[in-house]
């Protein structure tokens, strides 16, 4: 069965390939009519969050990543990538995270399924 026909990826959006995301980095994905997403790869594992910081209009994919934490390039607020939890001021609103669906080398997401 091909990926696009599987139940899991029905209505899901294909974002990129796992190999498109460099280890320890984030890849910004622009989608029509909604704010961009960030696909992160941390120790080989894929995580998906909103890309725009909850404090200012910054792309988190441009931030430093260390110990599973991404730091906003504007004011150095920080979020846990796996949970979206805001852990450093000035950020206080948590980041939305989404459950990645991996089919072969492809990364899919259901945008209506926010995991936190």
């Amino acid at each position: 069965m091909s990926a696009s026909n599987s139940v899991e990826t029905q209505d899901a959006i294909r974002l990129c390939q796992v190999a498109d995301v460099a280890e320890g980095n984030g890849l910004q994905i622009n989608l029509p009519e909604r704010p961009p997403l960030a696909v992160f790869k941390i120790e080989g594992q894929i995580f998906i969050t909103d890309d725009t910081c909850t404090h200012g209009q910054a792309s988190l994919c441009e931030g430093e990543i260390e110990d599973g934490v991404v730091e906003c390039p504007f004011h150095q607020g920080a979020f846990e990538i796996a949970t979206g939890k805001a852990i450093s001021a000035p950020c206080s609103v948590h980041l939305k995270t989404y459950q990645p669906i991996l089919v072969g080398d492809d990364v899919f997401v259901h945008l209506d399924k926010v995991s936190s």
């Binding site: 725009t52 909850t54 404090h55 004011h75 150095q76 450093s88 001021a89 000035p90 609103v93």
Partner: protein, 338 residues
């Protein structure tokens, strides 16, 4: 006087030995990032590249352990001991219309607003220049450190700065204001500060959400909204949350505006006991975000939201706006009252 240079730029400013790096930079009209000015919000972080500084508070909540490990500082909490080079990312929006200045002002009027909020009016020798929604730092006699309070009036050529201040039990600052200061006394005022100011050019509806002395900036914004030229279709919904009936205020001032009960609707709510020593409450109950949830007249996509009040209220309203209605962050302005 120390010379402060911004790393990787040709920008520099002078900072007096009694000023913070942040405020001196703002006085020089540099667009340094900041919000609260008191070490709490964490927006004014920077890295000291060279030079020596004195830090007012080592335990400022605006710095996380992670920031401390990386050697970051808060510009609002540092004064320079020598010339310095600071690494900081300047904001991209336009710098403040009115750079902050230090003034001497005299207390000219005190009015009770509720059982624990009073309006204090101060007279300066020069016009009071600020944008509605902004705040000033007050230096009170015999009190170490300054206190941040938002203006409740409109900018004016008469030089009047009005603040609505809630008495903090055991608070040293408010004790001086409420119990010691008398008419004619002089204090120091530094301002204006703050980025949660009224964007009068917006044509969207306006929603003000206030709690406690957060009434002050929201009232200033409502007054400015009333004065601006409007198409006649714009609405202002003004939510005010209090714990008890006796905390509710604002209606009397909003009634002065011609739009009251037409384009302007006042929506107060009590979150605690509906009966207190003097009143019974027959109006709405619950926290403000709960009241907003049940309030059907808001056009979330086409409104600007201004929020001022206790951190818990501000956070709950922001979460509600972002999560339940996907209001974009550029339509939400707030001051965190610490």
């Amino acid at each position: 006087m120390a010379r402060i240079t911004i790393a990787d730029s040709d920008l520099a400013f002078d900072c007096g030995s009694d000023d913070s790096l942040l405020r001196a930079g703002l006085r020089a009209n540099l667009n340094l990032p900041y919000e609260c000015n008191v070490g709490s919000c964490g927006t004014c972080k920077f890295e000291l590249v060279s030079g020596e500084i004195k830090v007012f508070s080592d335990t400022a909540p605006g710095l996380s352990d992670r920031d401390r490990k990386k050697g970051r500082q808060l510009a609002c909490q540092c004064l320079p001991l020598t010339d310095c080079v600071m690494k900081v990312r300047l904001e991209e929006d336009a710098p403040a219309k009115f750079p902050p200045t230090r003034l001497k002002v005299k207390l000219i009027k005190v009015t009770d607003v509720t059982h624990d909020i009073r309006e204090f009016q101060f007279q300066a020798a020069s016009p009071a220049t600020f944008i509605p929604g902004q705040y000033a730092m007050l230096q009170l006699p015999g009190v170490s450190g300054e206190r941040a309070y938002s203006m409740s009036n409109l900018p004016n050529d008469d030089g009047v700065w009005a603040f609505m201040i809630r008495r903090v039990p055991q608070g040293v600052g408010t004790q001086v204001l409420f119990d010691a200061l008398i008419l004619g006394n002089e204090i120091g005022l530094d301002g204006p500060f703050g980025k949660a100011y009224f964007r009068s050019e917006s044509e969207r509806d306006l929603v003000c959400v206030a709690g406690g002395s957060g009434l002050a900036p929201m009232l200033s914004i409502a007054r400015a909204w009333s004065q601006k030229s409007k198409s006649g279709e714009e609405h202002l919904t003004f939510f005010y949350g209090g714990r008890e009936p006796r905390d509710i205020c604002g209606e009397e001032m909003l009634q002065q505006l011609p739009e009251f009960n037409h384009q302007l609707q006042f929506v107060p709510s009590v979150s605690g006991a509906v009966n207190d020593a003097t009143n019974s409450w027959l109006g709405r109950t619950g926290f403000i975000h709960e009241v907003m949830h049940g309030f059907e007249d808001l056009d979330y996509a086409n409104s600007d939201f201004y929020i001022a009040g206790p951190p818990v209220m501000t956070q709950a309203v922001m979460d509600f706006l972002r999560e339940s209605h996907a209001v974009p962050q550029e339509q939400i302005y707030f001051d965190r009252f610490f």
